[in-house]
Symmetry: C2
Subunit: 205 residues, 2 copies
């Protein structure tokens, strides 16, 4: 999802389409909350781009699916896939609605950002200092989701956003990681990124 060319559709199996839809919808919800929290229109735009991608995926899923049913049992199974895809698209639309609030410049009530900051899973900006042990490592090597409990949603590098960075993404000093996790896990990652804590997980990094 880093570059625009990835938005071009490649023929895929029902399963691949379905997995992509599930991954995208989770990213969309995270990004929608992030856009609201930071009042960031660029992130909100990304959510709407992903919503379009979701529509396309759902369309392709349907065309694949209707071709696949060859008997009543298969028809019922295929229908279950379409039902679930519809629910996923409903969630995607809800995330899109949240993003539109940011794009429309609605005056947000302070409880909204407070709620995002104080719920069980929170979203936080984690600036990476030059001293941190994570500098120069890839997200794949670091596996921050396992080693710190923080899921990296996006990274801001200079003026550029990288959404859903992949395992080959290498962290540079000055990067701002956007992560989702518990309060404790986010604070822990912040100390690692500041260079105060010098190990990541069981020193597996």
């Amino acid at each position: 999802m880093e570059e625009f060319e990835e938005f071009e559709y490649q023929p895929k199996s029902v399963k691949e389409i379905f997995i992509e839809m599930k991954n995208i919808v989770e990213l969309m919800v995270d990004l929608a909350y992030t856009a609201i929290l930071f009042g960031d229109k660029e992130i909100a735009e990304e959510v709407l781009d992903l919503e379009e991608r979701m529509d396309l995926l759902n369309y392709h899923l349907m065309t694949h699916a209707v071709l696949a049913a060859r008997n009543p049992k298969e028809a019922e199974q295929i229908t279950s896939v379409l039902q679930m895809a519809n629910s996923i698209e409903d969630i995607s639309n809800a995330a899109g609605d949240l993003a539109k609030m940011v794009l429309e410049g609605v005056e947000l009530h302070p409880v909204i950002t407070e709620a995002i900051m104080e719920s069980e899973e929170v979203i936080a900006k984690v600036p990476v200092s030059a001293d941190s042990v994570i500098v120069g490592k890839t997200l794949g090597e670091l596996d921050l989701a396992t080693n710190t409990g923080v899921w990296i949603i996006a990274v801001k590098r200079g003026k550029r956003w990288i959404f859903a960075p992949d395992k080959d993404f290498k962290i540079k000093p000055g990067d701002i990681l956007i992560g989702r996790g518990t309060h404790t896990s986010v604070e822990h990652l912040k100390e690692i990124a500041r260079g105060i804590i010098r190990v990541v997980g069981d020193e597996r990094a």
Copy 2:
């Protein structure tokens, strides 16, 4: 902010209601996928119970909110809370629809469980053996979300389900934890729960 003082006269503040809605909707989506993955009607019922709770919370939010607006700026801010609450309720309804698929006994296509098992964040059953270092510890002491990257959604103890167990929940041998995390983090927790890995996180547990 004046409206906060107003809210203090109510049993719950708009903020508290809103945080609960956000926490519940995340739990609902996780539980809906869990119910589908394991074909478990009891979990699906819990999702529908939470959907009812969500409706009630949204109703209370609205009654609180409309009382709070006393000028156009406050009205716009309050409207933003209601808009966001509606999006959260849309997600809650989508989770409810997923749960209904399980309750209606729809014949599910195998790609559905495969997709849940193979997406970036997965859901897994983690049985706890008597040898494990986590036995006898509370979820608060263990902080598995931070120390292993696995978010505990529910626990099956004998025939009983405990949904969204809190920090005082003490793990017993034979418990089956239902966790959400990456493949790596879930496998790591499984080894801890099996008694193979003897430390949790940086031995902070």
